[in-house]
């Protein structure tokens, strides 16, 4: 692909903290290389702002290779930008042309308060994972490999669900602000496997109940989460979570271990 440079107009959301009201600010960036990543383009802009003595734009990032789930920008009306199954750190500037205007917003959800500018507090996800609790395992000597048989189908389903990087794009992209895809993935990755079966019922109940407390919306089966998920997590996992929840609601026996909150 041929290299080219471009000048762009950026409309970026600026917000001091969760207490204040944010607003859009317009920036011009010049000589951006088509081979830069979207975040590198933001680095260039921030260098420019620092040299002008202005406050740089705060945004989340870590691995910058599409696997950690830290980056979180809502670009031109889509979570993680225009490319499918992609994180914004792996969005490259060849997606744009000279003179383009790009609107960049943070994930917008009551459960994800803005920390600063494009950075949001996604600890609600951590609390949902915590509510899921532990998984019982045998301790002692290392067990033989494959001592617990797992079918290929179940292993694949669990693995696909476990691909979720917890970035929050599903919540950001959902018109209802629902976290159903995230919870679905986190419940399914264990529910498909024999390991952790002891806590199967309490896990799904506690995780779903925690999500309701965090102020996420409700799943309306619009499926925009699946469309915008960088890892292509299937909405089949949401149905799996519902089955698990119904099963947990009707199953008798001990209520399971509830996490303190």
């Amino acid at each position: 692909m041929e290299h080219y440079t471009m000048n762009l107009t950026l409309k970026v959301w600026r917000q001091k903290n969760s207490e204040t009201v944010g607003h859009f600010e317009t920036f011009e960036v010049k000589d951006i290389s088509s081979e830069m990543s979207f975040l590198e383009m933001f680095d260039v802009l921030n260098e420019q702002l620092i040299s002008e003595g202005k406050d740089p734009i705060a945004f989340d990032h870590d691995c910058r290779e599409g696997i950690c789930g830290a980056c979180s920008m809502y670009v031109d009306g889509r979570a993680h930008g225009p490319w499918e199954k992609n994180t914004v750190c792996q969005l490259h500037m060849r997606a744009y042309h000279d003179g383009d205007t790009i609107v960049v917003e943070p994930w917008r959800s009551a459960a994800f308060p803005v920390i600063k500018d494009l950075m949001v507090d996604r600890r609600a996800f951590d609390r949902i994972i915590e509510a899921g609790g532990f998984v019982s395992v045998n301790t002692g000597n290392a067990p033989d490999a494959n001592s617990i048989p797992v079918s290929k189908v179940a292993a694949d389903e669990a693995f696909d669900a476990a691909a979720c990087i917890g970035c929050g794009a599903c919540v950001a992209a959902c018109p209802n602000g629902s976290a159903a895809l995230f919870i679905g993935a986190k419940v399914s990755q264990l529910a498909f496997l024999p390991q952790g079966d002891a806590e199967r019922a309490s896990r799904v109940k506690n995780m779903v109940d925690q999500a309701a407390k965090e102020g996420f919306g409700n799943c309306g089966n619009i499926y925009n989460c699946e469309a915008e998920c960088p890892k292509g997590i299937s909405v089949g996992n949401i149905a799996k979570m519902k089955r698990e929840y119904m099963r947990a609601s009707v199953s008798s026996g001990p209520a399971g271990i509830r996490s303190e909150s």
């Binding site: 809502y74 889509r78 959800s109 309306g220 089966n221 499926y223 469309a227 949401i238 149905a239």
Partner: protein, 205 residues
């Protein structure tokens, strides 16, 4: 929403099926008998109560969920885009629902209120077949019925497959079939209902 949705979906099959007796070409004789049975038989009147409860739960649930979903995003995006795979009607189920509710109020006023006033206030029994002709040959009502049915079509196109997903039924083998069945159901039901005003309007009946 899933349970009540499927219940209302089942009701529409009965409703469309019974109303289709107007196409018997007997000047509404079978239809009027059916209509009389449905409005006078006490079992049917008891079931009607269940139907109203189904509607009310579906509507109230929808309103509660909409409120919660609005609260889940207090600051709106300045710009949102959806890929073509995401259906617009899936995002506007609430608005379509309001349109259907308005349509339902009009529909009850046209055909339901009179049967009740007859039952409880001793009004003369209406010839429902002729009542249909009277309503459907008026351009204003005809257009409003078509608009209402269009809203119902899109509401069903999302609702049918969505109900199965909500009840935890999503499967690589069955879900594609459920989706096709949902489209077939929605189109057939709405087409059948739409043919009724059309038939009276163009003079087939």
């Amino acid at each position: 929403m899933g349970f009540t949705g499927l219940f209302l979906i089942a009701f529409l099959i009965v409703h469309a099926g019974l109303n289709a007796t107007i196409f018997m070409n007997d000047d509404g004789e079978t239809f009027n008998k059916t209509s009389h049975f449905m409005s006078h038989n006490w079992i049917m009147r008891f079931l009607e109560l269940g139907l109203f409860i189904g509607f009310i739960i579906h509507i109230v649930q929808g309103m509660i969920l909409t409120r919660m979903n609005r609260a889940a995003r207090p600051v709106k995006y300045s710009k949102t885009r959806y890929i073509s795979k995401i259906k617009w009607y899936s995002r506007y189920m609430g608005i379509l629902g309001i349109l259907i509710l308005l349509y339902l109020i009009m529909h009850l006023a046209h055909f339901w209120v009179e049967t009740k006033s007859e039952l409880y206030f001793g009004a003369e029994e209406v010839n429902q077949y002729e009542r249909m002709r009277e309503v459907f040959t008026q351009p204003l009502w005809f257009v409003l019925y078509m608009v209402g049915l269009a809203a119902l079509l899109y509401h069903l196109l999302h609702g049918f497959q969505s109900a199965f997903q909500s009840l935890g039924m999503n499967d690589k083998t069955w879900t594609p079939l459920v989706k096709k069945l949902g489209v077939a159901y929605s189109v057939i039901i709405v087409l059948l209902f739409a043919l009724m005003p059309i038939a009276f309007m163009v003079g087939w009946l």
